[in-house]
Symmetry: C2
Subunit: 521 residues, 2 copies
């Protein structure tokens, strides 16, 4: 497929600077054509001004229009066919089967957000009708709904070149709620990004929406990302990546004259707690599941289980031995790019005073809880196929270890019936509920459903804002804010707030949920 090696600014392929970097074949390390330029400050300004210009149209567009856009993007991505998968495979080393699944997820996600946009109740319409006779003062008519906030800057993630990239969950959330999007392509998959941007551009044009609805910029310098966050027209930021980069964007956003929210999903150990009966009864099965989970996608998932906690016992030793054995049999995988591969090699080589269970391509080690808690370097996520077993002295040690944890995306507990009925387990689960965004029982944290009840986001440092999710339909809450209309005549109210409820929304009327119309009495 033809690639231009240019930015896409409001539908125009352009670049002021010469190409500066290339995608690299993750398997062969060969340079992929074409080269891509670094976005200039003028190009950043141009993309965000176009986005700001498109905002009023997009904000006023109805749910059907936004839904049609999301569905058109999904169709255009599908139309790209196998060429998209081939380029993504070259740039990321991810197997074609995985990329086929990821494309399916990306398009399903766009269509799910389209459904939500079309149904419309996400605006959380609230109506408190006037009470003209109320004493001592009449109550005015108050009607409140969520509205888009303005241009959203989305940073593509390296580990999901489709589902968390140009037309991934952040972009879908922003467009579904009426916000223009400027994507900063991840420099490890610029060609994949360009192909998807082309699909988005075609969908925007086909839907008759302003070209400024969407732009794609390339770059690999930290300055480029910071300039995007600092631009006065940027209203929110979605990011998935490293703690260092995420925190830098967060800090830049907070230091702006007008601070803006940054939703950065950064790092997580995703602890797995093994309770005694489960460990004794089915340690070997759990070891098999854990091996699958921590090596899935060469360990390059935000939800990879990075720490496994068990009570010192023969069963725990047997589990460790079995996990080591399984890990040693895992073949080497291709990592997303040389930077990640290098960081993984370095991080694992740096580990000192650990009991190695496997030093193969899939690595596993064991330490005592005292050693772990003493050494903050062990608390850092190691991105890739590595997991660390932590031995606590007794059952109470599980909960005290949980209390010492930083914020996590997920926490997992394996327990059998008598484990789960123990009061100590209730304590452990309660503690984990205060440390993590999602608690998994007798499963593994990898595999994040795109569903209304999903929560992908936990206390810092797993994300910068634990009050929101970046996966699932609730993700759209990141890019909206409420506006209250007081004493408007029905003709001037947004349709979501009109008496006749023309959109058929579930609304909160006098504090009670209902799809009813309001009387005209």
């Amino acid at each position: 497929m033809a690639l231009s090696g240019l930015h896409r600014i409001a539908g125009q392929a352009r670049a002021a600077a010469a190409p500066r970097f290339h995608g690299i074949d993750a398997t062969t390390q060969a340079r992929l054509e074409p080269g891509y330029p670094e976005a200039t400050p003028e190009e950043i300004d141009s993309a965000l001004r176009e986005a700001a210009g498109a905002f009023e149209v997009l904000a006023a567009a109805d749910g059907e229009t936004r839904a049609a856009l999301l569905e058109a993007i999904a169709r255009e991505i599908e139309t790209l066919g196998d060429g998209l998968l081939a380029r993504a495979h070259a740039e990321t080393g991810l197997p074609l089967a995985r990329l086929t699944g990821e494309r399916g997820r990306t398009c399903a996600q766009l269509r799910l957000f389209a459904q939500v946009a079309r149904e419309g109740s996400w605006v959380d319409a609230r109506i408190d009708p006037a009470l003209p006779q109320r004493q001592p003062l009449p109550r005015p008519d108050l009607r409140r709904m969520l509205q888009p906030i303005g241009p959203v800057v989305v940073f593509g993630a390296s580990n999901f070149p489709l589902a968390f990239s140009v037309a991934g969950g952040d972009t879908a959330s922003a467009l579904a709620t009426g916000n223009p999007v400027v994507v900063k392509a991840h420099p490890a998959h610029p060609g994949t990004s360009e192909l998807v941007a082309d699909a988005v551009d075609r969908a925007v044009a086909a839907c008759g929406l302003p070209a400024g609805t969407f732009s794609l910029l390339h770059g690999r310098e930290p300055r480029t990302g910071l300039d995007l966050v600092r631009h006065p027209d940027t209203c929110a930021v979605g990011f998935t990546g490293s703690h260092t980069a995420g925190r830098a964007l967060f800090d830049a956003a907070a230091a702006r004259p007008r601070p803006i929210p940054v939703f950065a999903e950064m790092s997580s150990l995703n602890p797995v707690f093994l309770l005694s009966s489960a460990l004794a009864a089915r340690g070997s099965t759990i070891a098999e599941g854990l091996k699958q989970s921590f090596t899935l996608g060469v360990g390059q998932f935000c939800t990879k289980p990075g720490v496994v906690i068990g009570v010192a016992s023969p069963a725990w030793d047997a589990f460790a031995a079995r996990l080591g054995e399984l890990a040693r049999s895992v073949p080497a995988g291709t990592m997303l790019h040389a930077g990640i591969a290098g960081a993984f090699a370095e991080s694992t080589a740096d580990l000192r005073d650990v009991e190695w269970l496997s030093k193969g391509p899939a690595a596993a080690a064991r330490v005592s809880a005292a050693r772990f808690l003493d050494d903050p370097t062990l608390h850092r996520e190691i991105f890739g196929p590595f997991t660390l077993l932590v031995t606590v002295p007794d059952a109470a040690g599980l909960t005290s270890f949980a209390r010492a944890l930083d914020g996590q995306l997920t926490a997992t507990v394996h327990g059998d019936a008598d484990d789960l009925s123990a009061p100590a387990t209730a304590d452990l689960l309660r503690t984990l509920g205060q440390r993590a965004g999602r608690i998994v029982l007798n499963g593994f944290p990898t595999g994040v459903e795109v569903a209304p009840a999903m929560q992908h986001g936990g206390p810092y440092p797993s994300t910068t804002d634990s009050r929101f999710t970046s996966v699932g339909t609730a993700a759209l809450a990141r890019f909206v804010r409420p506006v209250c209309y007081q004493d408007f005549p029905d003709s001037l109210r947004p349709p979501a707030l009109q008496d006749a409820n023309p959109l058929g929304l579930m609304r909160l009327v006098n504090g009670a949920p209902t799809r009813a119309t309001l009387g005209t009495a």
Copy 2:
């Protein structure tokens, strides 16, 4: 009523430091006894550790327990009787009738949050049941609900010594959702704060909740506020006050190793747009309403209309003349404290090159839009009975002025039938919807209902986070975060997420709202 001049730390009256400041009678400027101490770092640490200790109990408490606490606080405040009003009147200069109303609002607000806590649907329970047969992979059971985030630091506001202070909206929102509260008393009403803290302490004890549920600290140094925000156990901050103080707290919170949200409601001009027919038909009536609104409470409301925009015309000149006449007849009022009175006198004296309409205690002036937009000093809120008329050359100037505005809590439009049917008005209203949190038609922005549909919070700099409100039941969304429980057996799920829906909540099941139970098939 006996006042100790001490902090209240988890039910204990204590102070390590000697008294450092006194409440001042706002009317007579006499020093009020007793003196109050500045909280020491040890006292701040003690209050927040106690709060963190109480958190687990409070987080696990059911809606009925939290509701009972809020209702007990309301009763205890009422039990304080006229002594509370007398002290608040002395410390703030606010008339007894106003304070009686504010006490009613404060208690009604506590009871409204109690209702919401008892009903329980605020947890936004979402359930996506397992799909074990789904291809290519089964879907796990996912159940998500909102949970408290941890200790909340609340800064009392000077202009609402009851409703936005010790047991005001921020405290009610935090307690309703299961978060302990540490209040920093406003140094202008320390005695009022102590009395209400006493009421809260009695309610906490009567409900059998841990004493760390609530603490009150005194102080007037910026360092004290910053130390509270920086304490590692602080999880969120509620603040109403000046832009300078709010931004300092926001910056300190963002710079923490673990950043936390700050909900600061800071400053707003609350622009009022007068459309031509309305101005011509009833300019004099609007002038009367505006005078009432901008001088209400001696102009000391966040929603005071500080800018009024009209099109150059004889009707506009007549309006300005009438407003000036009305303003000149307003008697001097007692301001909340000498600092506010001094800042008001200084800010109005500093105004240059304006056409004065009234220089009396209630001040009004007029400038051209060009002059206004050129001079950023005119964009600053002047807290007190002052409003600035801005003349735009023509009807299109109204919308372009609106576009140039910073974020606002409110924006108001006065228009008659033919004003409102003009396409330019739709443009103006849409623009205001992007600049403000609440849009008022043919009314005035002062008077903020405590209701489900209220939005009190707009784009920066009116607040630090336009996605939330500090008034109305939606205010509780500030202090919660979602947690997803995956594949939990029913017995280990929180009641809100159990199959039988024992709390009778409105829940989102497979994306659709329902109060139904889930089948056990």
